[in-house]
């Protein structure tokens, strides 16, 4: 299988790969020159690194309670202070980054894995397949997304998979629509005809020739959906529908802080800052990418 794939990587494929890489480097350059998008990229990279390296960055045990040190303000020992149970707030926020990023990644992946093929096949096949898929997508879109997320999480109980599903399912329609539009605009082009003449299978034409040309708007959506997923995850855990205590989830930390924020405002401020910063980063990056790619040109 592996060797078959490698031999199938034709000269054309390799040229295309190089073009994509070059375009990627070019986009990165534009992003860094656009100040706001550069800030966004920086925040996103930092958040990702924090999530990956969380156990190394943690200065304390996130679950160790020390009632003699409860609700302390920032100090040299606890740089962001401690919470109601004397747990180190910095450590908990760092570990919270991991939860937020993991849920967002899972939710967005689920939306991409379901939405992209649906939209691609729908646009490529047309006819009744298109009608059925698009009607189903419209039906999903007509349902209030947040309500669906709450009901799903309440019904299935909190777990990583439930959160991926509850948050990801609401993003499926946008991917299906954008990809469908992209495929529709591409499928009559000459390179598709050329590929067909070289005897490539329809599936390969769709997924290896057409789809790579629809990557740009997907990338914009992925970035903006990351922001949205972080927002929904923290909202759900704030409402008590996410992971149960003592999980260091950002929303849960804020929910716990509600009762004593007058005494210790830092407990209500730092986790909120972390959430807002993460969402801001993805939004800035998404806006920057959108300015570069302008996905409206793909929408059908």
């Amino acid at each position: 299988m592996e060797t078959a794939n490698r031999t199938a990587l034709s000269l054309l494929d390799r040229l295309r790969l190089r073009a994509i890489t070059e375009r990627g480097v070019e986009v990165l350059g534009i992003l860094l020159r656009n100040r706001l998008a550069g800030v966004g990229l920086f925040i996103v990279v930092m958040a990702s690194l924090t999530a990956i390296l969380a156990p190394l960055l943690a200065t304390h045990d996130a679950f160790e309670m020390d009632l003699t040190r409860r609700l302390q303000g920032p100090s040299a020992e606890h740089i962001l202070g401690t919470d109601l149970y004397g747990r180190d707030l910095f450590t908990r926020i760092v570990l919270g980054t991991r939860i937020a990023m993991r849920v967002a990644l899972g939710a967005v992946l689920l939306a991409v894995v379901v939405g992209v093929p649906l939209g691609a096949v729908s646009g490529y096949c047309g006819g009744w397949v298109d009608t059925v898929v698009m009607r189903a997508i419209d039906a999903l879109l007509a349902f209030p997304g947040r309500l669906l997320a709450i009901v799903l999480v309440a019904a299935l109980g909190p777990s990583f998979f439930t959160l991926y599903l509850a948050i990801g399912i609401n993003a499926v329609p946008s991917y299906a629509r954008v990809v469908r539009g992209g495929v529709l605009s591409q499928k009559e082009k000459e390179y598709v005809e050329a590929a067909r003449m070289t005897g490539e299978s329809e599936a390969r034409i769709l997924f290896c020739q057409i789809l790579p040309n629809c990557i740009a708007p997907i990338l914009v959506l992925v970035t903006l959906d990351f922001a949205h997923a972080i927002l929904v995850e923290s909202s759900l855990s704030f409402l008590g529908l996410g992971f149960p205590p003592p999980a260091p989830s950002w929303g849960l930390m804020l929910s716990e802080a509600r009762g004593y924020m007058e005494l210790a405002p830092h407990v209500a401020i730092f986790p909120g800052l972390a959430i807002s910063l993460a969402i801001l980063g993805f939004n800035l990056l998404g806006d920057g990418l959108r300015d570069i790619f302008d996905p409206r040109q793909y929408e059908g």
Binding site: A139, A142, P144, R146, I150, A257
Partner: protein
Amino acid sequence: MIRYILRRLIELIPVLFLVSFLVFFIIHLIPGDPVEVMLGEERHDQATYELLRRQMGLDEPIHVQYWSWLRRTLQGDLGYSLRTKKPVFDTIVERYPATIYLALSSLLLGTLIAIPAGTVAAVRQNTRWDYGAMGFALFGISVPNFWFALLLILGFGLYLGWFPTMGYADPGTNLAAFLWHLTLPTIVLGTDMASTVTRYLRAEMLEQLRLDYVRTARAKGLPPRLVIYKHTLKNSLIGATTAIGLHVGRLLGGSTVVETVFAWPGVARLVLEAVYARDYPVLQGAVLLLALTYVGVNLVVDVFYKWLDPRIRLR
């Protein structure tokens, strides 16, 4: 127009089926046995359990249960709350006004912020005004509602003591107290709405300002103010209606986090209370009505949009 509305109504059928399936299956998905919840702490024997199970129809095959549920629902019978024993329909109707008041005031505030902010940002693109408006919009999009709410409570409620931190007053009996309680939740939801609508309006307006009719209007010597406010803004608002309409649908469904933080007795909090209490009939009824409201409002907004702009192509 009538054909358009009819077609939209026909398209609603699969949506309504999805809604009904989802609502029906809530009761089968939620962990725990509804019969046990209903019996609660009471001591009971196997016979009582079986009897109740049969009364609730839970011993029937699933498709029979679905049809009988659908029939009852269509007749307006949503059952009784397990917690309060009151009819579900009455419970929801009781909670709806609070959500509607909050939705309307937020809509008003959001529009009042978004229209000037979006207009100024577009007309004075790349000036301090534009950056200010866009900074505000970015703030609204990035700061989660529940955290913004907590900050407002902390600042204006706990420290300054200007506004109550939570609660509700009936507008019929005490209008002043009602408005006083309404302020902070309205600021949260109004800001949330204004941030997306401002961005939308700005983009729409920048697009319009590039069009030929604007150049023509300017070339024939119309004062810039007239061109902007009478021609461009009017056309841009048609586009912004979609963004506003999206929020109407969302606001009328209630914001769970805002209603929770401010202990606002609306329908969204009712859903959450029903989840916590495992009160299935209320959960089913509320989700059903909220979904129907959302679908209905979106339909009305689309029709309204269509009516505003006859150019929109009929598919």
